[in-house]
Symmetry: C2
Subunit: 256 residues, 2 copies
């Protein structure tokens, strides 16, 4: 049965959110662009930015067909509140996976980095497994792991915890709770935030964490202007860094 | 002061452990090979495999100097038992970072994937930060994150926990403890093993975890023969897969 199925290819995107700050050849393998250029069917967070991605690919590897004739469908928006009852049914995923069910390879792409990590694509991948569609992750960077590598913090044990709560006192208690977990498990904690809240989250971490906790911030990963700073919380307090409000940052910390 | 320093470049390796199963252009960005080809100084887990990596790079981007004249130093082997007191002192790291301290860019490379993640390189990166050497992670794949993406399990919250204990009963209780943690935090647990123990670890997970827990195994990531299977533990028990004993696998699971 599965002989007749196409594959679900997980296609890594650049990390510059389509600003084209970097030449795509600097950041994506040729093999990834060759696979992407041949795909007639895509599932994406956003069709418009996927067309922009395909134009960048086309500048290196000509697309196998006209851009207008490429089928790009969008993932359902996650319901606010995230109640399981409101998750799309298997029928929705089956519809999106229809090209693979009828023998065509299908690409899944995210707005930045690897699809299905810190984005809504994982449910599509789960549905593919349940329908015996082979899932093939193409090699590419994740900003979470580049930040972890650049932090110099423990890379043998780490947890990605998503976002901190938005309300100030809940944010502070969550940061302290994660610090206790980090100390107990000798585990690096990795988290992200929407760029316009970068400064707010840095301030919250600096206030909530203890002097000796080592805190790392990576900003603009893969961009020429990118940087990573790792320092004790005490040193961050004494010499704060200014974070840009339009460039994604990744925060990580390890309590001694 | 830091104007005179070189950068520490974190150079991603392929995931095929130097077997050259794949063309390097299929898996590494051109920009990464261009940066790697220009470096005169490296720190590596293994000098011999780093020379093999540089030969592969040279087949695409000619090296800036003769291979024999490239300076490759090895990271100190981690002490067995891992007591903090036996960690190398800052002097050891300062010695390895000497080229960057005197103004030359220095590459750090691992045996597979990103350096300083699940390997001994993080201490060198930490030392670089403490000596005001800029750390620049070049974009590349980590097998941990490719496996997580391909699993379809929760990519919004996950923990990498390294290896399970070797002793059978300790291994089983650790697996159960991690399953409880996964359920409590809705967190995907990611772990690895040395390839010759792949089958043993799969058997241990299948025995220790509950029927409904979803278990994913990725084998041979980035290789043409690579595959990912995600299924309930009950389905793994009913229809076991055979894991090769020479190809790295990544295991992940999520308890409902």
């Amino acid at each position: 049965m599965s002989e007749a199925r196409g594959q679900l290819l997980l296609v890594p995107n650049t990390l510059d959110l389509g600003t084209e700050t970097v030449d795509i050849q600097q950041v994506l393998p040729l093999g990834v662009m060759q696979r992407a250029a041949g795909l007639a069917h895509w599932v994406a967070e956003d069709a418009r930015s996927t067309r922009a991605f395909l134009k960048r690919v086309h500048s290196v590897v000509p697309l196998g067909m006209a851009l207008q004739s490429i089928d790009i469908r969008e993932l359902p928006r996650p319901a606010k509140g995230g109640a399981a009852a409101r998750l799309p049914s298997l029928d929705v995923w089956r519809g999106l996976l229809a090209p693979a069910l009828s023998g065509h390879d299908l690409g899944l792409i995210s707005e930045a980095g690897l699809p299905a990590v810190a984005d809504p694509g994982a449910a599509l991948v789960a549905a593919a497994h349940s329908l015996s569609i082979a899932v093939v992750p193409l090699p590419g960077a994740s900003s979470l792991l580049l930040a972890l590598a650049a932090s110099g913090l423990n890379g043998q044990s780490f947890a990605f915890v998503g976002y901190l709560p938005q309300e100030a006192s809940a944010r502070a208690s969550r940061a302290k709770e994660l610090q206790a977990q980090s100390r107990r498990a000798r585990q690096t904690i990795v988290l992200i935030e929407t760029p316009y809240r970068n400064a707010l989250v840095l301030q919250a971490l600096i206030s909530a964490l203890e002097d000796d906790t080592r805190l790392s911030v990576s900003c603009g990963l893969s961009l020429p202007s990118g940087w990573t700073r790792t320092d004790s919380v005490a040193a961050w307090r004494a010499h704060p860094s200014t974070l840009p409000d339009r460039i994604p940052a990744v925060f990580s910390f390890l309590a001694e």
